[in-house]
Amino acid sequence: MNEESIKNTIFQLLKRIAPEHDPSTLMPDENIREALNIDSFDALQFIVAISEKLNVDIPEEDYGKTATLKSLMAYLQQKMKS
């Protein structure tokens, strides 16, 4: 899976949670949860959806690495390689 399709997947999932926001306007270093107004429950749902869709295991201690678009992309790419 290339970078573009990972990004598309992330956007699709974010759109399901926060349909009133356009995730493509997110800045790379912006905190996703703050920008899209996502609470802790929805954040967990997002992690569940990402891990199911991309078939990666995201342990809880790595949640910090999923805060911004940039860090999340980097984290997922590295995860999927290994």
Binding site: N8, R16, K53
Partner: protein
């Protein structure tokens, strides 16, 4: 993850037949030209030599006769695989399939089940003109008492027959001759697959593309093209046309709220008519747009390539139709 291997659709069908013959002494293959000729489409090539004429039986051109004989043999404890060379000739055997195979269990108050498997080569796309290009899936799917399967992928070509032979009741397998040389990857130890559920072949959220048979690969290809435009299409392979698995496509529609049904068969009174009706009955309030259909044009299939191509949905047609639906 399991190891993958590349295999043609033909090889997948053949290895399923071989495995079935090896596994169960009661199984035999009967059909026109299945033995000495090697199968009209070379699916059973070499099997006569391997298993002998008792298990690979050439039959005369008498579709009603040998299909009925297959049904009789099944009644009497065998597990025949009846090959009707092409679906077009199955019209001559319809009395046997519908009046006997489909009814005996019921008419006998549950005493006589008919474990026969009937394979039919079918489909459009080889310039065979009107009498050899039929899509009779809707005909057979109309009839209670039989199971109707559309073999739309290599995985199913390898696995459906094996499960069909386990069924206590008649199973009709539609195999698509235009796909015989098509290569695809399947897992190395692929085998029996379920024959009761539809499958989501590609997940998506923007539209449910519901199809079967040759429509599966066409729709997946179309979905790939569309994904480059940011459209996320879910592709559902119905697989089982009777009894229909509603749950899978209704669940999908509850997610996407939009549906396009694609099939080669003529549009009127078809599988897509049925799917559309079920969606209306059971998921009306999930619909954000009318259910759309792309089906065979209502004309006897003509011989010239360009007209034949225009008679059934192609990848480009699907792409354009979806674009029109999602980005009008």
């Amino acid at each position: 993850m399991s190891k993958m291997k590349t295999i043609t659709y033909r090889e997948a069908l053949k290895s399923a037949i071989r495995e079935a013959l090896q596994k169960d002494e009661r199984v035999f293959l009967m059909g026109e030209d299945v033995g000495h000729y090697g199968g009209a489409f070379a699916v059973s090539k070499g099997l006569l030599k391997e298993f002998g004429p008792g298990r690979i039986m050439d039959v005369p051109l008498s579709e009603s006769g040998f299909t009925g004989a297959g049904i009789g043999a099944a009644l009497a404890g065998m597990r025949p695989i009846v090959e009707i060379m092409t679906v077009n000739f199955s019209l001559l055997a319809m009395d046997q399939i519908i009046n006997n195979a489909a009814t005996l269990l019921h008419m006998s108050g549950g005493q006589l089940n008919v474990p026969v498997v009937i394979r039919m080569g079918c489909g459009i796309g080889r310039q065979l003109a009107a009498q050899h290009s039929h899509s009779w899936e809707p005909f057979y799917a109309h009839v209670p008492g039989i199971n109707v399967l559309a073999v739309g992928t290599h995985e199913d070509a390898r696995g459906m027959l094996l499960t069909a032979l386990e069924s206590p009741d008649p199973v009709i397998l539609f195999e698509y001759t235009s796909m015989l040389n098509l290569e695809a990857e399947i897992i190395e130890d692929a085998g029996a697959v379920d024959i009761c559920k539809a499958k989501v072949r590609r997940e998506g959220i923007d539209l449910s593309l519901i199809t079967y048979g040759t429509g599966v690969y066409k729709s997946l290809e179309a979905a790939e093209v569309l994904s480059k435009d940011g459209m996320d299409i879910e592709v559902i392979d119905l697989r089982v046309l009777r009894p229909l698995d509603e749950e899978t496509f209704l669940t999908s529609i509850a997610k996407t709220h939009k549906a396009l049904v694609v099939e080669d068969a003529w549009k009127s009174v078809s599988i897509s008519s049925e799917i559309s009706a079920r969606i209306m009955e059971k998921a009306f309030f999930e619909l954000d747009l009318p259910v759309e259909r792309l089906c065979g044009v209502e004309v006897p299939i003509p011989y010239p390539k360009h007209l034949e191509d225009a008679s059934v949905p192609q990848v480009q047609d699907i792409v354009e139709k979806v674009r029109k639906i999602l980005k009008p």
